[in-house]
Symmetry: C2
Subunit: 334 residues, 2 copies
């Protein structure tokens, strides 16, 4: 089998990881890396994480790299917003390159950008590529994992998912992202201007409802601070009692007049138990718990690389802007 030619597009913390992971896979060859940050351009990808060089230098000229290397698939890690990445998707798809993206809104692009999604889908079909949004959250623990557990059920009345993450063991940017150490008042102010919280819960809800064929009457999202009940020290921060320790993000889908999907994401410093739990009110009843949790950054890079093989496979038979439900079975690739 010929190796899959992989382009890394975007070299933030996730992108550097997915690039290195792809470079180390036997079934893949990292053929290029693109980022617009002048501090990264010209450097070997391996310099960005302080590890061994991988033999691929970062370029800011995506069109040139695409023409020179003709990749099969790009690992795309640039932004959370679908509309913001459409020009990048057009460039990649236009060059015949499939895309697996960590763009959270791209898990279910039609939710917030239906028209744009149609347009991008048409291009992907024409160019015979797959464009896919995936990741861990959204992308796996609060959506795909719940869906696959429903396969053993006669029927499902309701899907509930809990995710618990100890932000204290994660990178400083994540601790800041969840508001660790700010006041409850400041949390409210940031929430009002949408400058805090997790992106992707509505997309997870939409994917679950779509995957189960449940029309959505209403979809609600809630965001509240988790307040530190005592002083908590992390490697980077000291969160005082009464300050914000992190976020509590909830989602709820009503379909046919009944509550059918509820998601509960708690990500805060000092979270005592880390896990992912899918609970189906179903016949037979199903409760599946990832007792280790699923570590966000590592696992997101892994999902991108592992789904790259699936996206290329599906591109051969069913190209387009596709969903996780349309991929062949997600799994580790060698």
């Amino acid at each position: 089998m010929a190796k899959l030619k992989v382009l890394q597009f975007g070299l933030g913390p996730i992108g550097v990881r997915s690039a290195r992971l792809a470079a180390g896979k036997e079934s893949m060859e990292l053929v290029g890396a693109v980022d617009i940050d002048p501090a990264k351009v010209g450097k070997d990808v391996g310099e960005l994480d302080g590890g061994e060089p991988v033999g691929v230098k970062v370029s800011d000229d995506a069109a040139k790299i695409l023409a020179e290397t003709r990749p099969d698939v790009a690992l795309h890690t640039t932004s959370s917003k679908f509309d913001a990445v459409v020009p990048q998707l057009e460039l990649l798809a236009g060059a015949g390159c499939s895309v697996v993206s960590s763009t959270e809104e791209m898990l279910f692009p039609a939710l917030k950008h239906a028209e744009l999604a149609e347009k991008v889908d048409a291009l992907a079909r024409e160019k015979r590529v797959v464009l896919l949004g995936t990741g861990v959250n959204p992308g796996f623990v609060m959506d795909t994992f719940a869906l696959i557990m429903s396969a053993v059920c006669y029927d499902v009345e309701k899907v509930h998912v809990d995710r618990r993450v100890d932000a204290g063991t994660r990178r400083l940017p994540l601790q800041k992202k969840v508001g660790a150490g700010i006041s409850v008042e400041e949390f409210g102010a940031r929430k009002a201007r949408k400058a805090i919280g997790h992106v992707g819960l509505p997309e997870s809800m939409a994917l679950v409802a779509h995957g189960l064929g449940w029309p959505v009457d209403t979809m609600e999202e809630g965001l509240e601070p988790k307040v530190a009940p005592r002083d908590i020290k992390t490697e980077f921060l000291h969160v005082k009692e009464g300050q914000v320790a992190g976020i509590h993000n909830t989602g709820r889908v009503v379909s046919g007049g009944r509550e059918r999907v509820t998601l509960d994401l708690q990500m805060y410093v000092g979270c005592p138990e880390v896990y992912d739990l899918v609970k189906l009110d179903s016949t037979p009843p199903i409760e599946a718990k990832v007792v280790t949790g699923v570590a966000g950054d590592l696992a997101t890079a892994a999902m991108l690389v592992n789904l790259a093989a699936r996206a290329v496979e599906v591109a051969g038979v069913n190209p387009g802007l596709r969903l996780m439900t349309e991929m062949t079975l997600p799994r580790l690739v060698g």
Copy 2:
């Protein structure tokens, strides 16, 4: 969307359940039911489980029913052995009907019947149908579930799966199948003539190794009795201390000189904790436990019906004798 036209082929305990389930699905229409048992022929499918009639009578003339009803997909529940069902698959595929089968060996037909599998695959491609083996075990808990959990991993050194089933809460035939109430000596005699135990562990091992791209050096299967440590009464049986309570079935795959897949199935009366556990020695480490367990008979019927939609979907783009790894995301269908 037109309803999927479903044929039930085989009306044992699982088949009656899958037929009724399909009949009740909004997206499906049960168009026929086939069995050779004279005691069942002519009866409404609903009479076989003592429930409401479903409006479909059992026929022993499969060719006639196929010609009259032209089903999209058959739920096939007749035998554990692939070679035994090939004439049935040929009949169904020849009529342009995809097949989702509970035939345990069909989860990975090439393991024991490589040539036959090639021949059947060629027919399925020609007729543009998908033929798929699935179920709960094999089919989900000890293979597909482990594979999908690997999607969030950088790499996996080893896959381990435990399945614990309390045979005491199951049908009498299952209690007998696992040898509950026989002597250890009798267990040995039945084992020697392959008249006891679970069918499918090698196929689960093969699917996991194949799905992860691990070449199999050696594959071993073990079968030992679980001996009752005390008297145990079930609804049907009284198992005395020292008698057989059930089976302990193990599997082990060596790949590249290393042990990489181990499966451990314990199915016996008095099993104190029922669960399914996937444990990956991986980066990041993953341990996922279905704390409810996955109830065998109900869930197997559910898998057949739910995968029928996936098989027909895949038949449109990638027909053939296919594996679970080649299906789009398994999930509940409405």
